[in-house]
């Protein structure tokens, strides 16, 4: 019987400053990457359900690592799969899906969410699986849990899974947003009707005022990210809409919550991604060059008021940078490339300022963007292209980081050395971040 853990203890996370170097520094490695085709929305077939995609991604990751299913003893699953689309109330789950897959008690498992149980039931080849963890929200969290449990010896070959579903209809429309009243904790914000990017937008408005910057200074970053995304064959834009983005496209795009426009947001898609994390010892015998974990850090900042402020974000990002370098035993200048999250592109600015990437301080990211931030340059920004470049998955940043260090980022391979990189997210507050390295020390 597989032990399934849903309550994750706070000790798993490096969430305070002063915790010192990560005790498992260099003892854990990423060894496999698995992806699936992307699509804009679900076409309602069983073969393209989020559950089916998830199984495909996990099998691809194992094959990539050269690992057989019976070697796997750990599994970390992100239970939420929604991009902002919800299963319509009263709609029946498709018959062909019910025929193809084993069910759990939750009828939406595998179509609108994932549980470790669903994966276990539908992947009987994982005969030696001992423990499974449910790590909420996103890939960065799941990877952090995986590297920590492997470090602690709770697993030695651990799969990590993030799947996404997307349905017909507009983002976050309907449901509670169409009701005449609002109950619960969102009653202090939802009635004022900010779209999802609003929080970042008002922080960026304050940022422009504070540092005397303008929105069009962001254009080179978004253009660079789309360029990198078009060089990512696993990504949505490369697969379905290979359209370069120009400065004019960016600066003339419609506003969503000004100062955030359409291209300051990412496009929701369907896809699944999976990784294999192993102990450094086991990693030695595997197919790919191991990418060692030097350290990780987590943010647990809570807003003082209803709205998270720019100052709270800047403090959180700066603290995450300090925690990361402390955990990994490195300095900011040791980082060769960064793949911080960009789901709302504007907060990438806060992430990299917090890291002190390329020597920048608060208020200087937009100046950096006017310089060479390409993959060919001296300080590549988001070589993965992130969500901006490949669609909303929260895993391009990790895949690219591993591929850069392994020398298999293909057309996106950065020109400078790729020995130490950082990836994580999603947001400046509440995120999880990892330092990856080509060597264990």
């Amino acid at each position: 019987m597989v032990e399934i853990i849903t309550n994750l203890p706070p000790e798993l996370y490096h969430s305070q400053e002063g915790m010192g170097v990560w005790p498992y520094r260099g003892k854990v490695a990423a060894v496999g990457i698995g992806h699936t085709p992307t699509s804009r929305r679900w076409d309602e077939r069983a073969e393209t359900s989020v559950g089916a995609l998830s199984i495909m991604a996990l099998r691809n990751a194992m094959a990539d690592a050269g690992v057989t299913p019976d070697q796997v003893d750990g599994l970390v699953v992100v239970p939420e799969t929604t991009t902002g689309a919800y299963w319509p109330a009263g709609k029946q789950v498709n018959e062909d899906f019910l025929q193809m897959f084993e069910q759990t008690d939750d009828p939406l498992d595998g179509v609108a969410k994932l549980s470790p149980e669903w994966i276990i039931k539908n992947m009987p080849e994982l005969t030696n699986l001992k423990t499974a963890w449910a790590a909420g929200t996103c890939t960065s969290h799941a990877l952090t849990v995986a590297v920590e449990v492997v470090g602690r010896g709770l697993a030695s070959v651990c799969l990590v899974l993030k799947g996404w579903h997307n349905y017909a209809g507009r983002y976050y429309q309907g449901g509670a947003n169409a009701e005449p009243t609002v109950s619960g904790p969102t009653k202090y914000s939802a009635p004022w009707g900010g779209p999802a990017c609003y929080g970042t937008a008002q922080q960026f408005q304050r940022y422009m005022w504070k540092y005397n910057k303008t929105h069009d200074m962001v254009a080179p970053f978004v253009i660079n990210s789309r360029r990198n995304g078009l060089l990512f064959p696993e990504g949505y834009w490369a697969q379905h809409r290979p359209e370069p983005l120009t400065a004019e496209d960016y600066n003339e795009a419609r506003w969503i919550a000004k100062p955030a426009n359409l291209y300051d947001n990412d496009i929701p898609i369907m896809a699944a991604g999976a990784y294999v994390i192993a102990s450094a010892e086991k990693a030695r015998d595997m197919k790919q060059k191991p990418v060692y974990v030097l350290g990780h850090a987590s943010d647990r900042t809570r807003a003082r008021g209803i709205a998270l402020t720019l100052e709270e974000v800047e403090e959180a990002c700066g603290s995450s940078g300090r925690k990361l370098y402390e955990s990994a035993g490195i300095k900011a200048s040791d980082v060769d490339f960064e793949n911080m999250y960009d789901g709302f592109g504007l907060f990438h600015i806060f992430h990299i300022e917090g890291l002190g990437y390329a020597g920048i301080k608060k208020g200087e990211a937009l100046d950096l963007f006017q310089d060479d931030i390409s993959i060919e340059g001296p300080h590549p920004v988001s070589p993965s292209g992130g969500n901006i470049g490949s669609g909303r998955t929260r895993f391009w940043l990790h895949t690219d980081s591993l591929q850069q260090i392994q020398g298999r980022a293909g057309a996106r391979q950065i020109s400078k050395k790729a020995e130490i990189g950082v990836s994580g997210g999603p947001t400046p507050t509440g995120g999880n971040f990892i330092i990856w390295s080509s060597t264990p020390d």
């Binding site: 004022w192 900010g194 969503i256 720019l310």
Partner: protein, 137 residues
Amino acid sequence: MAKQSPVPDDIDRPFWDAANEERLVIQHCSACDRLQHPPQATCYQCNSPQNLTWKQMSGKGSIYSYGVVYDTPVAVLQPQQPYNLAVIQLDEDPGINMYSHLPGAPIDNLPIGGRVELVFEATPGTGQKVPEWRLVG
């Protein structure tokens, strides 16, 4: 601006009852001498429920920041786009902030740091009044 009606619960009913009387009250822990918003069952700092009271505010504040919404997912607000959505800080404690549509203000190009004062607006769903803010000066 017509918006959805917040529904009070057992913890925050005093906030919404005061709003119906056109008063803004914020939770205050007398042990920590600390304001907190949104209302909680306990003081966020000392975790005790015992020293929480409701303090009436002056109704004076300033604009911390804002955005202009062009594409909201909220049905009742969609016909009213584009609209201002500001973050207001209270004079009593700039750490206490809340949202506002800034009724009466021109759309966009708002003064960060601009002075605002409290007004109340009835919402169509249940008639519940909500705090809002107007530019002054």
